[in-house]
C-alpha cells in the first residue's frame, strides 16, 4: 500500500538537478599561451590531512615563485587544488574532474599511495601525466607510462641506510617496529625486512602499532627485553615522535640507535620529540640540512611564509611543481599530454631542492638518498 507512495520520479528529479548543477562547473578552461593548469589532488581533510596541508604549502610556494618570475620563465602556473579527503573514492572524482572538467596539463598527487593505486590507473587510461610527490608504495609507477614520481621510495632509501648502519655502527641484531595498518609504514617494513636480510642482520623481534596509537610502551618494553643493537622503525612522523620519546623514557639507552626511513624526515620529529630525538638516524630522500643555495633559499622562503620549517613532503611537492613546469615548458604546450609525458621522461640532472634530479627509465625518482642523524636539535648528514 505504502509502496504506492514511493515514487522514483523524485530520484530522477534530484538526479537531473545534480546534472544541471555540475554542468556549471564545466565552463571550459580559458586558453592562454603557456598557461599551465596543474591539478593538485591532496588530502586536506581526513587521516592524511597533516601531509596534504604541508604539501599544499610547498606547492603554493613554488607556484608563487614561478608566477612572480613569469616574464623570464615564460610560463604561468594556474594551480587547481582539490581535497580528496584521504579517501580513494573522492580521489577518483577529483581525478575525473581534473581530466575531463578542468582539462589540466598534468596532475600532481594524490597524497596517499592507496588512493594513487586507484586514481593513477584512471589517469593512465586517459593519457594524463601524473607526478606523484609522496607515494612510496610499490607498484605505483608500474601502473603505466604516464605515471611519474619524484618521491624516492623506501626500497631505495632503506637498503642504503642499513648498509651505512652496519658499516659505521656495527649493528648485527635489531628489533623492528612498524605500523601494520598503513600502506606507507607497511611498505617501509617490507623494505626494511628485505634490506636486513640482504645485509645479514638478525631480527630479534617484530612489533606493530596502529595508525593513531599514542601509547607504544608495551611494544617497546618487549623490545627492550630483547636487547637489540638498534631499533628499526617504520612510521610516519606522528607515531615516530611518540616512539622515540617513550623508548627513551622506558630506559632504552641512547647507545641503542633508533633508525627510521622517510617518515622520520620532518622537523616535526625535532619539535615533538625534543631531546629524545638526539641520535635518531634516518634514511631520507631530502636533505633538510643541505647548504646548497637552492635548498637554503627554499627553507628560508618557506619558513618566512608559513612560520615553520618545511618537511620532506613540502620539499617534494615544491620540487614537483618545478618539475611539472619544466615538462610543460619543454613540451611547449599545456594541452598536449603526450608531449608533456615525453618531456617529463627526458628530464635529466635538473637542479631541484632534492638534488640533481633525473627520472629512471621506470619513471621513478633518481637521486642519491641521504642518511641523516639528529645532532644538537638539528638534522645533520650522518658521518659528516
Amino acid at each position: 500500500m505504502r509502496s504506492n507512495h514511493c515514487r522514483s520520479g523524485v530520484l530522477a528529479t534530484l538526479f537531473l538537478a545534480f546534472i544541471l548543477l555540475s554542468g556549471q562547473l564545466c565552463t571550459g578552461a580559458a586558453a592562454a599561451v603557456l598557461e599551465a593548469k596543474i591539478g593538485l589532488a591532496l588530502s586536506m581533510t581526513g587521516g592524511a590531512a597533516a601531509y596534504g596541508a604541508t604539501q599544499k604549502q610547498g606547492a603554493q610556494l613554488a607556484v608563487d615563485e614561478i608566477n612572480a618570475a613569469t616574464g623570464a620563465a615564460g610560463i604561468k602556473v594556474v594551480p587547481v587544488f582539490e581535497d580528496d579527503a584521504s579517501q580513494p573514492q573522492q580521489g577518483i572524482t577529483v581525478f575525473n574532474k581534473f581530466i575531463n572538467g578542468d582539462k589540466v596539463a598534468l596532475i600532481i598527487g594524490p597524497t596517499l599511495s592507496n588512493t594513487a593505486q586507484v586514481t593513477d590507473r584512471i589517469a593512465q587510461q586517459a593519457g594524463m601525466p601524473v607526478l606523484a610527490v609522496s607515494n612510496t608504495a610499490k607498484g605505483i609507477t608500474e601502473i603505466g607510462d604516464y605515471i611519474f614520481r619524484d618521491s624516492l621510495t623506501e626500497m631505495i632509501v632503506i637498503p642504503y641506510t642499513m648498509k651505512i648502519a652496519r658499516e659505521k655502527l656495527g649493528v648485527h641484531k635489531v628489533a623492528v617496529f612498524y605500523g601494520n595498518d598503513d600502506a606507507f609504514t607497511k611498505g617501509g617494513y617490507d623494505a626494511f625486512k628485505k634490506a636486513l636480510a640482504d645485509a645479514h642482520i638478525e631480527i630479534v623481534t617484530e612489533q606493530t602499532f596502529a595508525k593513531g596509537d599514542r601509547d607504544f610502551s608495551p611494544q617497546l618494553t618487549q623490545i627492550k627485553g630483547k636487547n637489540p643493537d638498534a631499533i628499526v622503525v617504520s612510521a610516519l612522523v606522528e607515531e615516530a615522535s611518540g616512539i622515540v620519546i617513550q623508548a627513551r623514557q622506558l630506559g632504552i639507552p641512547a647507545s641503542i640507535p633508533i633508525i627510521g626511513g622517510n617518515g622520520f624526515n620532518s622537523p616535526a620529529l625535532l619539535a615533538n620529540a625534543g631531546e629524545a630525538a638526539e641520535g635518531v638516524m634516518m634514511g631520507a630522500a631530502w636533505n633538510a640540512s643541505s647548504i646548497l643555495p637552492l635548498n637554503k633559499k627554499f627553507v628560508e622562503a618557506f619558513t618566512a611564509k608559513y612560520g615553520h620549517p618545511p618537511d620532506q613532503f613540502a620539499a617534494q611537492a615544491y620540487a614537483g611543481v618545478y618539475l611539472a613546469c619544466e615538462a610543460v615548458k619543454r613540451a611547449g604546450s599545456a594541452t598536449d599530454h603526450k608531449a608533456i609525458r615525453k618531456a617529463m621522461s627526458e628530464i635529466k640532472d635538473l637542479d631541484t631542492v632534492l638534488g640533481k634530479f633525473s627520472f629512471t627509465p621506470e619513471r621513478d625518482a633518481d637521486h642519491t638518498p641521504v642518511v641523516q642523524v639528529v645532532k644538537g636539535g638539528k638534522f645533520a648528514v650522518f658521518g659528516e
Binding site: 545534480f18 555540475s22 608504495a137 610499490k138
Partner: protein, 296 residues
C-alpha cells in the same frame, strides 16, 4: 547530450560509488527494517569483497562465481554471528556488531592473502556501472516485494513492537536472524562488486567510519521505506561533490558544511528525507503511543 557525456566523464565513478553505497545502505536497511541496529555491514562487505577478490585474482574464478561465493560466505558468517548477538538490543547490539567489525578488520590486516595494509592490489576491473545498478534494481525490487511476504510482515511487526509481534505468533528470534543474515548476504554482494571496481581494496575502506556512514545514509534517507536508504546514500555520497561544485572551499569548511547538513536533516526531518515526499493529506498527528498508554 554532450553535457551528459561530460557529466559521466567526471562523475562516472561517483555514480558507481553511489550505487555501491546504496547497496550497502540497503543491506543495513534489512536489519533496521526488523528493528535491529547493527553496525556490522562494513565488516560483511569486507568479507564478501576480500573473498571475491581473492577468488578472482588468485584462483582464477569467474567474476560472477567469485562474487556469489563471497556473498554466501558473508551470509553464513552473518548467520553464525547473528544467533548470539541478536539477543542484545539497541546500542548494545550496535556495539557488539561494531566490535565484530573491528575484529574482522584486524584479521584482514594481519593475513598475508589479503595483502595486509597495502590491500588486495590488482583485482581485475570487472564491475560495470550497469552491473551495479542492475543489482541495485534487483535488490531494491526484491526488498520492495519482500514487504508483503511473510518475512516482510514479520520484520515490520518486530520493528514496530517486538512483544506484540511475539504474541501474534511471530518467532522473533528466527526472523531477526533471517533479517541479519539477508543483510550480511547483500553486504557481501556489494563488497564483491566493490572489490572489482577499483583494482584494489584496503582494510581501511571497511572500518568504523564506514559502518557509521551506512547508518547515517539510512537515518538521513529514512528507514520507513525501502527507497529511503538509497536516497540517503545518493545524497550523502554526492554531497562532497555537490559542495565542491557549489564552490564551498576544500578542507575544513566543506567538512563543517557536511556536518551541518546532517544535523539539519536530523533535527528537522525526523523520518528522513523520504518524509519530504510523503503525500500530505494522510493524517500524521498524535504522540507516540507509549505516551498515551502510560498515563491512562
Amino acid at each position: 547530450m554532450e553535457a551528459l557525456g561530460q557529466f559521466f566523464a567526471i562523475y562516472g565513478s561517483l555514480v558507481n560509488f553511489i550505487g555501491i553505497n546504496a547497496l550497502l545502505a540497503l543491506s543495513l536497511y534489512l536489519t533496521l527494517a526488523a528493528g535491529q541496529l547493527s553496525l556490522g555491514s562494513a565488516a560483511f562487505a569486507a568479507i564478501g569483497g576480500y573473498t571475491a577478490g581473492i577468488l578472482t585474482m588468485k584462483c582464477g574464478f569467474p567474476f560472477l562465481l567469485s562474487v556469489a561465493i563471497g556473498s554466501i560466505l558473508s551470509g553464513l558468517v552473518g548467520l553464525v554471528i547473528g544467533l548470539p548477538v541478536l539477543r542484545l538490543r539497541g546500542v548494545f547490539l550496535a556495539i557488539a556488531t561494531l566490535s565484530f567489525g573491528e575484529v574482522v578488520r584486524i584479521i584482514v590486516l594481519n593475513l598475508d592473502i589479503t595483502g595486509g595494509a597495502q590491500g588486495l592490489v590488482g583485482i581485475p576491473n570487472l564491475t560495470k556501472t550497469w552491473g551495479i545498478y542492475l543489482t541495485l534494481a534487483l535488490a531494491g525490487y526484491s526488498i520492495a516485494r519482500l514487504r508483503r511476504s511473510r518475512a516482510g510482515w514479520c520484520f515490520e511487526s518486530i520493528r514496530e513492537d517486538e512483544t506484540a509481534a511475539a504474541a501474534m505468533g511471530i518467532n522473533t528470534t528466527y526472523y531477526k536472524t533471517l533479517a541479519f543474515t539477508l543483510g550480511a548476504l547483500l553486504a557481501g554482494l556489494a563488497g564483491g562488486l566493490y572489490a572489482h571496481l577499483n583494482y584494489i581494496i584496503t582494510p581501511r575502506e571497511f572500518g568504523f567510519s564506514v559502518a557509521v556512514d551506512l547508518l547515517i545514509y539510512n537515518i538521513v534517507g529514512g528507514v520507513r521505506c525501502w527507497y529511503g536508504p538509497m536516497l540517503g546514500a545518493f545524497l550523502l555520497t554526492a554531497l562532497p561533490e555537490i559542495l565542491r561544485g557549489t564552490g564551498v572551499a576544500a578542507g575544513p569548511v566543506r567538512m563543517a558544511a557536511n556536518g551541518l547538513i546532517l544535523l539539519l536533516v536530523i533535527l528537522f526531518l525526523p523520518n528522513g528525507l523520504v518524509s519530504v515526499f510523503t503525500r500530505p493529506g494522510r493524517p500524521q498527528a498524535g504522540l507516540p503511543p507509549a505516551a498515551v498508554a502510560e498515563e491512562v
